[in-house]
């Protein structure tokens, strides 16, 4: 998970931190820090003229290397900050998705609660402080990941997001990015009508489904485990109480029981901070759950582009066949054809008309060939770029997930050590009795 601290953020983002990559500094994150803090409640008027309450977050940017060439020109101050609400983050992300379809765009924290088990733990209320805090962390991670990406971090709208206080929304809309969005229908069509689906993207789709399923499963069980562990610790508070009461009727054993009871209370209380920490790792994993969606978008775009190519290829074949037909006259053996019908009904074309038609077809063919070339080029560039970014994503994912596992293990180790020490203390109470 991308943390606020610049060190780990560097790990997350710029490749400069890994010894394997080149020494070049490649992204914005190496020269500045971003943090999302201080959620505040605001009331305003919504688009439909109704009063609404929403939360805003303070987005603070601090530049660490003022002299860097990477810095956009508009970043003149060393620190600057502004308030953003969730919908603005959403807008930024949508813009980036449309503008950089070959990039695996980092996900935003959830808007609504999807999974039942989260509802039960009180996450449904969007003003619940816990929910807001976890959202804040997710939003920060999002910005850090964007800033860490070579291409994305150069985007002017992104810079404006960090810097432009007034009318940022209008600026985004002014780019007309919505026009570039692919229609749902087209995308769906593409999915189902590809003749030769690209093996790599099929694999990627499968991979993203597996990733999603595995993480979802993991998170569900982790939640259950957390609840049980919580229960077990809290039951020990009952031991604390009964030892305390019991100590009241005992003479020599009284002190020992009393202290033992105290330790039981400590034990019961110790679980709270541990579970809070575990929540942060769960959130980090959840980020990758949403990343699966971003991967699928990549696949969809590829399918669309390939579909365009195939459509054009088909068209080309058809045109050529048409031309052939024209030149050779009606081909009786081809069975039913419109040409055959019209010929029978209206008489065959005159040579002049035929000539004209053939020319038309040639023009169309030429056009289609050009289109096909363009589409093929677009497809191949897209494939190159997207696969490259997918590789970057995968490497990042390996780093991130490993870090999560390491942190989780360290947390468990801490918990175990605390447990050993606490039970040793408790034992002393009894042995000294």
């Amino acid at each position: 998970m991308a943390d606020a601290g610049s060190d780990s953020a560097q790990d997350v983002g710029s490749e400069a931190s890994t010894p394997s990559s080149s020494k070049r500094v490649t992204s914005l994150l190496s020269v500045l820090e971003i943090s999302v803090t201080e959620p505040e409640r605001r009331t305003g008027v919504s688009a439909i003229n109704m009063k609404e309450t929403y939360t805003v977050y303070l987005v603070e940017t601090r530049i660490t290397d003022m002299k860097s060439e990477l810095l956009p020109e508009i970043f003149t101050d060393e620190t600057f900050s502004l308030w953003r609400r969730y919908s603005e983050f959403e807008l930024l992300r949508n813009y980036l998705c449309v503008t950089y379809p070959a990039v695996v765009i980092p996900p935003l924290p959830e808007k609504k609660i999807h999974m039942m088990w989260q509802k039960l733990s009180g996450g449904e209320d969007k003003f619940d402080p816990d929910f807001i805090e976890r959202r804040r962390a997710g939003l920060e991670s999002f910005l850090l990941r964007v800033a860490a990406h070579t291409q994305l971090s150069q985007d002017k709208i992104f810079h404006a997001f960090l810097h432009l206080v007034e009318a940022w929304k209008e600026t985004v809309l002014a780019t007309g990015y919505q026009n570039k969005m692919d229609s749902r229908l087209k995308t769906l069509n593409a999915q189902f009508r590809l003749k030769n689906p690209d093996r790599r993207f099929q694999d990627l789709k499968n991979y993203s489904s597996e990733l999603e399923a595995n993480i979802a499963n993991l998170l569900k069980i982790r939640e259950r485990l957390a609840e049980r562990l919580y229960g077990i610790h809290k039951i020990h508070a009952n031991y604390g109480r009964v030892f305390s009461e019991w100590s009241g009727i005992e003479k020599e054993m009284g002190d020992g029981l009393q202290s033992a009871g105290h330790f039981m209370d400590v034990y019961a209380a110790s679980i709270d901070s541990m579970l809070e920490e575990e929540d942060t790792y769960a959130d980090a994993l959840k980020e990758y759950l949403y990343f699966a969606d971003a991967l699928r978008s990549i696949c969809r775009k590829q399918e669309l582009l390939q579909y365009e190519v195939e459509k054009l290829e088909d068209k080309l074949v058809y045109l050529k066949a048409q031309k052939q037909q024209m030149e050779q006259g009606v081909d009786v053996k081809s069975g039913f054809s419109l040409k055959g019908m019209t010929t029978k009904l209206f008489g065959a074309d005159t040579p002049e008309i035929r000539e004209k038609k053939i020319q038309q077809l040639e023009e169309q063919t030429q056009q289609t060939e050009e289109q096909l070339q363009a589409a093929k080029w677009e497809l191949s560039t897209y494939i190159d770029r997207s696969l490259q970014d997918v590789e970057r994503f995968k490497r990042q994912k390996v780093r991130d997930l490993r870090e999560i596992f390491i942190n989780y293990s360290i947390m468990q180790i801490k918990l175990c050590k605390k447990g050993v020490s606490l039970w040793n203390n408790t034992k002393e109470c009894f042995t000294k009795m």
């Binding site: 490749e15 890994t18 394997s20 990559s21 080149s22 508009i74 503008t99 070579t150 291409q151 150069q154 002017k156 709208i157 992104f158 810079h159 432009l164 009318a167 002014a174 990015y177 990733l211 595995n214 499963n217 993991l218 069980i221 982790r222 485990l225 049980r228 562990l229 077990i232 039951i235 020990h236 031991y239 009964v242 009727i249 054993m253 070339q373 080029w377 191949s380 494939i383 190159d384 696969l387 970057r392 490497r395 390996v398 997930l401 490993r402 390491i406 989780y408 293990s409 360290i410 180790i413 175990c416 050590k417 447990g419 050993v420 039970w423 040793n424 034992k427 009894f430 042995t431 009795m433």
Partner: protein
């Protein structure tokens, strides 16, 4: 007390095998209570001087019950679960005098018996003794739970003033399977404890019912049991005991305190038992979830290549924790819970003996009341006018009537005096027995609590240590792979520069076409640059 002569005073006698002492001294003035009390206290003090916390206990005493030494059968042949269970490993109750250590009993080897009517378990009871009132030095018999029940009933009936150790409950509630190995081991240990406590009690260990229990053949025991059923038992005292607690005038506050203590103690033990049950349930559920957790990592590792070792490491860590938890759960149920249940039963036994003591005191007070009434009557008689009595009415001389009544009352008073004397002694004996038993019980309770709860802590420590090493190992594995990985990526520099367009892998053989494209590229990659950002 049917054969109460030997119960009250044997504690005061420091020597002599067998210990049945002489009857109550006839010189005692039955109403001069203080004298008899003093005597009793003196003899008690004598007993107290013999160190209750027996310093160096004879070595032979312990060999029987420590693991692996002495009689190898002592700890039970098949106990692999407990090497140091809180029941089997606990020391025996302290004995007052060192020469009581001449009777050793062990319980082991549960066996299932199936008959047409029922199936049940018997345990082997082995006795070793040097006592002269036992015909042989060693006995081996088979006894079932019902036999233990019989023994306890008989002991209670013949020693109402003593605290009789409890037996484990008849049924186990959580496990419906009363033949499961864990249940049998727990019960065996509890039965062992029961017998050890009795054998170690200075009075109870000489009880003839115990001797029968330890030595009789199966058919002999059966006939004794039938006999016992013929005797209706002490109905009278049980009825009186119901009212006793509330009606006593002279009960000293220490008994009220004892009562309160026992009630509270029993309640606390009950609470602890319930907490144990809840904890057990939660831990079991937790373990089930853990069992599902590990495989998720394993499954996930199938779709990851570089992370697979780390994920398998996680899975392994989780699995080891689950194993540790399994052990913890088993200990919670079979090692920690039974002693707590036993002390709940002990509290009940204590309540019973307190009640019985109360009823004995009640009897004494009633007798004294009766005596005073009769004396009062006698005084009244001197001054009364017998002319209107029934006897005079029937033609007798009033003076004769008075004399007859006087004689009758004298006889009654004489009888009551004796009864008062006896019942007073009973009270004193009962108090002494109770006091001694309770003192012993408190000492043992303290030791048991120490041991049982220390062991609970030990097991938790062990659990956490196992989990600790599991996660440390996992951490190592995860980190290790990371080094391997960086090593491998260093070897292939081309794949490590992510932002140079990777044209090395041609996806199509299409050449970048016509002028149309550069603008396309420009708009795609540099869409943001094309935009003027207005401020």
């Amino acid at each position: 007390m049917a054969d109460g002569t030997d119960s009250g005073f044997s504690e005061g006698q420091p020597s002599g095998p067998g210990g049945s002492s002489g009857p109550i001294s006839p010189d005692l003035d039955p109403l001069n209570i203080t004298t008899s009390t003093v005597d009793l206290e003196e003899s008690l003090d004598m007993g107290a001087e013999t160190p209750l916390d027996c310093g160096p206990t004879p070595r032979s005493f312990y060999t029987l019950f420590t693991d692996g030494e002495g009689d190898p059968k002592a700890a039970g042949d098949d106990i692999t679960v407990f090497t140091q269970s809180s029941l089997a490993g606990l020391q025996l109750d302290d004995a007052l005098a060192s020469d009581v250590h001449d009777l050793f009993v062990t319980v082991d080897d549960p066996e299932k018996h199936i008959t047409n009517m029922e199936s049940y378990i018997t345990y082997r009871v082995t006795t070793k003794t040097t006592r002269s009132d036992y015909d042989s030095h060693e006995y081996v018999v088979r006894r079932r739970y019902q036999d233990f029940l019989w023994l306890r009933e008989r002991l209670e009936a013949t020693n109402p003033t003593h605290l009789i150790p409890p037996l484990p409950e008849k049924h186990s509630f959580r496990r419906l399977d009363r033949f499961s190995p864990e249940f049998l081991k727990t019960r065996q240990a509890a039965l062992q404890k029961f017998l050890s406590r009795i054998v170690d009690h200075p009075t109870l260990s000489f009880n003839e019912n115990l001797t029968i229990f330890l030595t009789a053949k199966a058919w002999e025991l059966a006939s004794h049991r039938k006999q016992a059923q013929g005797i209706m038992g002490k109905m009278g005292s049980s009825m009186r005991s119901m009212a006793a607690g509330y009606m006593m005038k002279n009960r000293s506050p220490e008994y009220a305190t004892m009562q309160e203590y026992v009630n509270t103690f029993g309640a606390k033990m009950g609470t602890i038992d319930r907490i144990n049950q809840r904890l057990l349930k939660e831990m079991t559920d937790y373990e089930q979830d853990l069992r599902e957790f590990g495989p998720v990592f394993t499954l996930w590792s199938n779709s990851e290549t570089e992370l697979a070792p780390a994920m398998l490491g996680m899975a392994a860590g989780v699995e080891k924790c689950e194993k540790a938890l399994e052990q913890q759960i088993s200990d919670q149920e079979h090692v920690f819970a039974p002693p707590v249940k036993e002390y709940i039963l002990y509290a009940e036994a204590m309540k019973a003996v307190l009640k019985r003591r109360d009823s004995i005191q009640m009897e004494y007070e009633l007798t004294v009341e009766e005596l005073n009434r009769k004396r009062n009557d006698r005084e009244q008689l001197k001054m009364s006018d017998q002319s209107y009595s029934l006897g005079a009415f029937m033609g007798k001389d009033p003076e004769e009537v008075r004399q007859q009544k006087r004689t009758k009352l004298d006889a009654q008073i004489e009888e009551l005096l004796k009864q008062v004397e006896v019942s007073n002694d009973n009270v004193e004996c009962a108090n002494a027995d109770l006091k001694a038993d309770l003192e012993r019980w408190h000492r043992n309770k303290r030791r048991d609590v120490k041991e049982v709860f220390s062991e609970l802590c030990d097991r938790n420590i062990q659990y956490y240590q196992e989990c600790l090493s599991a996660w440390e190992e996992t951490l190592q594995e995860i980190n290790q792979k990371s080094e391997l990985e960086t090593a491998s990526t260093l070897a292939t520099p081309t794949s490590s520069c992510p932002d140079t367009p990777n044209l090395a892998t041609p996806t199509s053989s299409v050449t970048p076409p016509l002028p149309a494209t550069p603008t396309k590229e420009g708009t795609e990659g540099g869409a943001s640059e094309g935009q003027e950002v207005t401020q």
